[in-house]
Subunit: 156 residues, 2 copies
DNA sequence: TAAAATTAGTTGCTAAGACAACTAAATTTT
DNA sequence: AAAATTTAGTTGTCTTAGCAACTAATTTTA
């Protein structure tokens, strides 16, 4: 396969910032997933985000979790179901508002979560060590600007 | 709605760069998707990437597309099936190597794709207008550094 | 040349994102 | 108070991502 003509097209995609963002997001998630799997931990990165949140917050409902993680109701609903099956969290009906669910970590969930913290810290550091503090700040700002420019009235 | 509470950013998660990258990727994709839908175009952003690629390249196999888009074989296989059903592309067996498929746009696909180009350009510009050229370059570089740090021998 | 390994593509499974439509409970309106 | 609206959560459908396991065709290698 070929000469250099492949190059310019590759160029176009590679220089497409949107595409790069998506690609990076995917790679980052994949890396985290693989580290977790290599330690025999049966949880996805996305599920971890919920668990991590519940480490600090107690008695939250699903909507609160969704707002925090910017995930919609169906997504949270199903993720919660999975985490419940895995025994990390417990869900009960609120007795203040019967529509709401009250979500908490189980004792097991809490213990595991705390044990996992250092590993997660490491995962986070893995891809970012090559960036200076300034670069990280700039990255954060740039991403924020993009999100702000695209912000839909509905969800932010 | 509301005041400046938007930027009070919920501590931990919001400051997690990885999470920001993912969030931005999602928002960007969503925006593109909505613009396309609002114009009554029945194609997803991801499908578009394949169509766009085929606008320049003829007689490619699925693996080539996958390499270009960093998507794996099953993903490309199923996306191609969908695009074929929609009538944008045609797939035939290679007579050089019977394992390979030869992928091309249909006449319709090519026509549509060309018509869509300006809209896609606009979608790309939408989220990036707030960034200076320098900021875009820095963003691209930072993302590249992250990917490089996390690069798995297998796929990059 | 026959056996082994590689390659291109497909299918099955699970997870998550987005959307629509729905139930049930609470709140607002009239 | 009754009717209308809003809210929290669930279920269904479609799309993509990643993994494993598979078929069929092509190369390697013994």
């Amino acid at each position: 396969m070929a000469n250099g003509m492949q190059q310019d097209e590759r160029e176009i995609l590679q220089h497409n910032l949107y595409y790069q963002i998506e690609l990076t997001a995917r790679r980052v998630k994949l890396h985290g997933q693989q580290v977790l799997a290599s330690h025999g931990i049966d949880i996805t990165i996305d599920q971890w985000l919920i668990v991590r949140f519940l480490l600090d917050k107690k008695d939250v409902n699903q909507l609160t979790i969704g707002e925090e993680l910017y995930k919609d109701k169906p997504t949270i609903s199903r993720m919660i179901q999975k985490l419940e099956k895995k025994g990390w969290i417990i869900k009960r009906k609120s007795d203040v508002d019967a529509r709401e669910m009250v979500i908490n970590l189980t004792a097991d969930g809490r213990r595991w979560a705390k044990e996992m913290l250092p590993m997660i810290q490491q995962i986070r550091a893995d891809g970012l060590y090559a960036l200076t503090l300034e670069e990280k700040q700039q990255l954060s700002q740039a991403l924020g600007k993009i999100r702000k420019s695209l912000a839909t009235r509905s969800s932010e």
